[in-house]
């Protein structure tokens, strides 16, 4: 048996976790205090308020679920959906499929609206489904598809849901902190996200927010929520502001220190500034990628700046490139997922990792590895192309 584990120091440019700001790692390691300690409860209130800032919402039920993004997704579905109900799910990647699994396991009926992977959700098809299924209780979609790098028009889709008296359920695991997201202004009824993407925090927590309309539906349920751990009625006894804090589960105290720090950093920078930074670094990176002779799965109009699905010629050995990047440069980029497995790399420029140093490292390392493997390209030219974009942004 080995002793203590000392991780290699990587640069994380995959689909998440992204590089964690050292300030956050330091916060994570502060001494643990009790989950009912008055000082901790004060910090919890600040986390709620900082999450409201990040989500642009005044929703009272805005909290981090004590588990990863998949549990955030499950929290939304098990609380909002009752057996026998219909939920329209717009799928344009892996995570719409996971929504379907969740809806089925609630004993409800998913109505699938399929779009090609790499495209945003088709508004007209969503509208048709809403018209065809007037009894649907919710319209669910992924704002920022981590498997393809496509951004869907959340504002338009939420408006449609409202017009058809449906709840709008939004997955923005990869969106939060990286692109515009307006929970209140767009009329999002339930949203879940992750900490390990554009918040640059450690993985393990899932921020969620529910509108008053969503909370109303939860309160009027006729079946108990199937999960005790994720039942918001119970969780709110601990996170809520009314009548003291009652014990539900033991909060992941140190992870919450880290989230508090991550959100504090986001607020210091300013939300719009963070969005702009992601856009700027993406523009430079895209110029470099094109200079290397590589392409993008998603059209510029719908492209997520924080998650780049980069396509490569058939002749390129996907696994060999990623292994060489990890081995020779300690650089992690992501493999394709689902329908795009073996066809793309997913290169993240998320949160703290969205910076010119990483852009340059990735372009030159990727170019060098491609050259080594016999695919001729000019890494220096790629870096220069990125630099030119940066100069134009001054």
């Amino acid at each position: 048996m080995a002793g203590s584990f000392h991780p290699p120091v990587r640069t994380l440019m995959g689909p998440g976790p992204s590089d964690v700001n050292p300030r956050i790692l330091e916060a994570l390691s502060r001494p643990t205090i009790g989950h009912l300690d008055p000082a901790f409860i004060e910090m919890m209130d600040e986390v709620k308020s900082l999450l409201q800032y990040a989500f642009r919402t005044e929703n009272e039920l805005t909290i981090p679920v004590s588990a990863p993004g998949s549990a955030g997704m499950e929290t939304v579905f098990v609380n909002l959906v009752e057996p026998g109900e219909k939920v329209i799910i717009c799928q344009n990647g892996v995570f719409g499929g996971r929504m379907k699994e969740n809806v089925e396991r609630c004993g409800a009926e998913p109505i699938m609206v399929e779009d090609e992977w790499g495209l945003p959700v088709d508004i007209a098809k969503a509208e048709q489904a809403l018209t065809d299924h007037p009894d649907a209780v919710a319209l669910a979609f992924v704002h920022a598809e981590t498997s393809t790098g496509a951004r869907s028009d959340a504002e338009a889709l939420c408006k449609l849901a409202q017009q058809h008296d449906c709840l709008a359920i939004v997955d923005s695991v990869t969106g939060l902190g990286g692109i515009q997201l307006e929970v209140d202004a767009w009329g999002i009824d339930a949203i879940y996200s992750g900490t390990q993407k554009c918040l640059s925090c450690v993985p393990g927590l899932s921020p969620v927010s529910f509108s008053a309309k969503a909370v109303e539906k939860i309160k009027n349920r006729t079946h108990k929520v199937q999960s005790w751990f994720l039942d918001t009625n119970l969780v709110m006894g601990y996170w809520g502001s009314e009548g003291g804090r009652s014990y539900h589960h033991t909060a992941p105290v140190n992870s919450l220190y880290a989230l508090h720090e991550a959100l504090t950093i986001l607020k210091e920078e300013g939300l719009e500034n963070a969005w702009q930074r992601h856009a700027n670094n993406h523009a430079a990176f895209a110029a470099g990628i094109q200079s290397l002779g590589l392409g993008f799965v998603v059209e510029p109009e719908y492209r997520l700046p924080q998650l780049n699905a980069v396509s490569f010629p058939d002749s390129v050995d996907d696994g060999a490139v990623r292994s060489a990047l990890l081995k020779n440069y300690d650089l992690e980029i992501g493999a394709g997922l689902g329908a795009l497995a073996g066809k793309v790399w997913r290169i993240g420029l998320m949160g703290f990792a969205s910076n010119p140093t990483n852009v340059n490292l990735c372009l030159s390392a990727l170019g060098n590895v491609l050259n080594t493997l016999g695919h001729e390209c000019d890494p220096a030219a790629a870096v220069a192309a990125a630099s030119e974009v940066y100069s134009s942004q001054q």
Copy 2:
């Protein structure tokens, strides 16, 4: 809005989280790497093997669930129990009640066997229930009741379950690492624990283990597991050893560094030595508590050394004592829970926090506070009584 959060430095002697070893906090803050990084996957294998050591099992399905102990409990029930099935639950505290909630939310029928709080589970009553309900699929009980400090005879109860062809489901959230626990030798089929008790790790993960018989039942399910996030069939694709690691959810990378370190520390000390240390510190503490004129809810025979439910005279103001300890000594002890709320303090001597310094601190601080609040006692004599026990242990 405040800036970074800097927690006060407390001594944690409540029901958990317990004081975290600084080695573990340091491990927690090591740089994050990807959850599919080869170095991380190697570490996951070590975590599994270390958990097998701590649980004394060779069960292949021995992993930490990526969420707190309550989610570990839910993992066990949603995977093992199908709608319409019967589960016998022996309740002698808060956590048996939570098992009931879980079984009901699985659409199954809980058969409750109630025991007085503070007593261990009555073996004869459990046997009667097994005889009365030959169609029950499982017998579930709490090995170490965190709400009362009582230890039940897990070995005898598991034997009974086997004789009646039932699965034995065991909650040992507070037991693991603090008292004898033999998953294989006792025939435990499913067990869940927590990291923030006798492992002295940060809260947020739940070690679980399933026997081959339990895995067989999961494989033969006729209904899908109601939770996608906690479905062991899917989780094992990531944690399992067969055919590479497939993405399920993003593992809480840094929390797993911490658990790895906590288990490494436990192995360095040796499991039996850790049990003995908990017993020794409890004996000294108990002598001091009695010297202060306070009592124990649980008889010595059934008492958990790591969780002391200490009773006090009616005239003592529970909240005032705990507040004074926190304010004047930065010492956290726990309040009573459920039926014991307002009637006991729960004083933890768990893991790293089970040491003579904490025993002495708690006895003298508690004695001083009681004196200040008008309840005469002799803190110095209490510390001396504890010292005498320590001397006799040399």
